[in-house]
């Protein structure tokens, strides 16, 4: 049969980019990042069980620039996934569907996760210096 372009229904790209879909995509991306974080957590636990030397080697890797970048990134991914996840649970229970509520809770999840990530790492940094 000759291949002929058939009319298709409107696809995703006709929709305007906005906060709702952006945060939904970010939820998925942070979820994938956290799935990879599971590997790091496993490595940390196995190194702890392995004894003082293996733990020191793992701790050194986590304290390296790449390691710290990962830890800060996973902190943000966790906090965003947590706040936005609670937002999803409220929707599942039937609350918060109004336009203003959706936008307010969305911005709250973004601002809250950034603020909490900064707070957590400021506390760690302050504790490390003292």
């Amino acid at each position: 049969m000759p291949a002929r372009a058939r009319p298709t229904s409107p696809h995703l790209n006709i929709y305007r980019w906005q906060i709702g879909n952006s945060l939904s995509i970010l939820h998925r991306l942070t979820g994938i990042a956290l799935a990879l974080g599971l590997l790091a957590l496993c490595y940390w636990l196995v190194s702890l069980a392995g004894g003082e030397q293996s733990y020191a080697a793992a701790a050194k890797r986590f304290a390296s620039p790449v390691g710290l970048f990962g830890l800060v990134g996973w902190t943000f991914a966790f906090l965003y996934h947590l706040l936005n996840g609670v937002r999803h649970l409220f929707w599942d229970a039937g609350y918060g569907f109004e336009r203003t509520q959706r936008h307010a809770s969305g911005w709250f999840a973004v601002a809250g996760s950034i603020a909490l990530t900064l707070s957590v790492w400021a506390l760690i940094w302050a504790g490390h210096r003292s």
Binding site: I32, L41, V46, A49, L82, V86, H88, I124
Partner: protein, 126 residues
């Protein structure tokens, strides 16, 4: 009474009868992870240092070890459900889909199993 033809029945056609199972398991594990993950984050932040003796002593404490074990188990399960959904949404060729889902399942059992075994080794002091 079923309107399915006998042939359709033996071929196993029709609904898989577990459409809501995945969705519900994801929510239940999500709710369980709220206290577990927060406990983990605040416990680590409350430790005076993250060196070997301190962390080892903390995880050897029975309640910490028990909660860490629950955390790792539920988190691995939640991650498995979530990444499965991603593969089902974006991987369309049948062979690649089955292969990816198999690999995900093996990877999660491996990572979850190794983490739990490590926690138990610390908890039981070997």
């Amino acid at each position: 009474m079923s309107l399915q033809s006998p042939l359709g029945r033996v071929l196993g056609l029709g609904s898989a009868k577990d459409g809501t199972g995945h969705w519900w398991a994801q929510r239940v594990s999500a709710v369980a992870l709220i206290p577990l993950t927060l406990w983990f984050m605040f416990s680590l932040m409350a430790l005076p240092a993250l060196d070997y003796p301190t962390v080892r002593a903390w995880l050897s404490f029975p309640l910490s070890g028990f909660l860490a074990l629950l955390l790792v188990a539920v988190m691995t399960y939640h991650s498995y459900l979530g990444t499965n959904e991603v593969v089902e949404d974006y991987v369309h060729s049948a062979g690649m889909k089955v292969l990816s889902l198999l690999l995900l399942r093996f990877a999660h059992v491996l990572v979850g199993g190794a983490s739990i075994f490590a926690i138990m080794r610390v908890a039981f002091g070997s």
